[in-house]
Amino acid sequence: MEQAYTIAATIMRYVFVILMAYILIRLVIISIREWNTHRFWEKQLGQKVFVQLDIIEPPSKRGTIYEIGHKTTVGRGRTCDIQLKSRSIALKHAVFFKKDTMYISAYEPERFQIFVNDSPIGRQDARLLDEDIIKIGRVSFRISINKDDDIIDEDLFDDNEFLEYGAEEIDEDIE
């Protein structure tokens, strides 16, 4: 019996290694499939709506354009996707997010309000339409929501005014 066990264990060591390798390879394949699925949905969401924000106030920052992604945070903090250095803006002030169309929500509506077309949005997620004016602190934006990528004017980006992510100084007295 012991000899039989030795033979069985000796044979099984190859089986175990092969099974381990197979499991590992299948795990990698599943991971790759999941990654491809994730990219597929990202592409689907991205193709539906192309959104950009143009700063219209203060006048010194007019023409600055931001592209809005699936979820984009706005605030004074460095961790925000769009960083606006102004005392009138909270560390994390607002978030733009895509569902069927574009929405905006405030992080601290009691202390730092957001206005859409001069109306405060309060605690709600406010739905945004093309050409809406959004006021965050002392900064006003016009939002452009385009259903077709071809509508975007490529010349807008030639003068390097386009800022995807970056720190924009609004108030001169802030660091």
Partner: protein, 416 residues
């Protein structure tokens, strides 16, 4: 609406679980004949383990269907392999390990469920800081020494290692503060907390845990702020701390000397390292065979040196594949962190992944004599109740964050 890829993925995950169960059952069936006669105990134990994994999988599908399948299957495999090898070395240890795994599974589900309340959980940051500092300080007074480190507490006849849970607490605290702060002065609270914890661990001679927490903090800080200067300064301070530890702590000096050349003292202080290396070498590429090795001669074969045991019985190829499994774990953890719904969850996921990753590579590095040996466990595999529970808690949080972010994405997809 599911894509074809998603449907294929679901079937693949189910099939792979079956293959993993097959691997585990083959091992236990083989062990049933290892004593020269038919013994039902390994088969029954293996069946219980397999049933537990299937039940957990079904519960995950029912309660958190957006969980991360590759991460789950990787962890299940590591747990199964760990229980198999623990049973091979000591059935009594394996039964204890299974019991702790059961507790770990319950806590895992709890942690998964609490992720969606993460903003409420963050209100507990200060109590967590106070509790962690209190328990680590209490170890100085009431802690029991084991393996040279005074980091054990006896509760109800069972010994626990609080540092295992303090690691997760540190990642949580750092994630909370790094979410909204990046300047060094504004991070004085979490950084002081981390420094005090590391200091207490050094005093208690648990250098492995101290190194783990210090490195995790540095990685989380760098990921959150991108501040290379401060990160390098932190690494420099850590290196200075290591040099000072070498100068002032005899046990550190001994460990480094033994690591440099264990062969000189192979029958005393170098015995463990030498036996570990010889066990790995004697296994060859495919191992001696399950149950045919003699790894019990290695001190701490069931905890620190479990990797050497696996290499001896399953082979060096299996050892390399095991490292690859941990690499898959890291990659899945990082993907979960990148896809997290908010910055706090991203940092916390990064912290949990980093803890498990670093822990596995530090102990494997010590066993193969790449770095000096530290007394930490191989996650999901080594014998140790506290380690098992803490690893399952980290795993639970990772799965919770994965499910939360996928649910959020699914809601967005549903409205497009």
């Amino acid at each position: 609406m599911k894509t074809l890829n998603e449907i294929k993925m679901g079937f693949s995950a189910n099939r792979l679980l079956i293959i993993i169960i097959l691997f585990i059952m083959l091992g236990f069936c083989l062990l049933s004949f290892s004593q020269g006669r038919m013994d039902a105990e390994p088969f029954v134990f293996g069946s219980i383990v397999s049933a537990l994994f299937i039940v957990v999988y079904l519960l995950m599908l029912a309660m958190f269907k957006e969980f991360d399948r590759p991460l789950f299957l990787t962890t299940i495999f590591l747990l199964g392999l760990g229980l198999l090898i623990q049973f091979r070395m000591s059935p009594k240890n394996a039964k204890s390990q299974l019991f702790m795994l059961g507790i770990g599974v319950v806590l895992m589900f709890l942690c998964m469920g609490t992720v969606k309340f993460n903003s409420s959980m963050r209100k507990l940051t200060i109590p967590i800081i106070i509790g962690s500092l209190a328990i680590m300080a209490a170890l100085l007074v009431i802690g029991k020494e084991s393996g040279g480190a005074k980091n054990w507490i006896i509760i109800g006849g069972r010994s626990f290692q609080p540092s295992e849970f303090v690691k997760i607490a540190t990642a949580f605290v750092l994630a909370h503060y790094l979410d909204t702060r990046t300047k060094l002065l504004k991070l004085i609270v979490p950084l002081s907390f981390a420094i005090i914890i590391v200091f207490l661990l050094v005093v208690e001679k648990d250098l492995g845990a101290a190194m783990l927490i210090a490195l995790t903090c540095l990685i989380m800080y760098f990921a959150a702020t991108g501040n290379l200067g401060v990160t390098l300064a932190g690494l420099g301070m850590g290196a200075l701390g290591a040099i000072l530890s070498y100068r002032f702590f005899d046990h550190v000096k001994l460990r480094v000397e033994v690591w440099q050349n264990p062969w000189i003292t192979y029958d005393s202080s170098g015995y463990q390292i030498v036996q570990g290396l010889m066990a790995i070498a004697s296994g060859g590429l495919f191992g001696s065979g399950l149950g045919l090795g003699s790894a019990k001669v290695i001190p701490a074969y069931h905890t620190d040196y479990i990797f050497a045991v696996i290499c001896e019985e399953f082979g060096i190829i299996a050892g390399v594949l095991l490292i690859a499994f941990y690499v898959v774990f890291i990659i899945r953890g990082l993907i979960i962190a990148l896809n997290a719904r908010n910055r706090f969850l991203m940092l916390f996921a990064l912290g949990c992944t980093t803890l498990i990753t670093l822990q596995s590579f530090i102990i494997i590095g010590g066993v193969i004599k790449l770095i000096p040996l530290t007394g930490i466990t191989l996650p999901f595999i080594s014998f140790g109740g506290s380690s098992m529970i803490a690893s399952m808690i980290s795993f639970g949080f990772l799965q919770g964050i994965a499910a939360d972010s996928k649910k959020y994405r699914a809601e967005a997809e549903g409205s497009t």
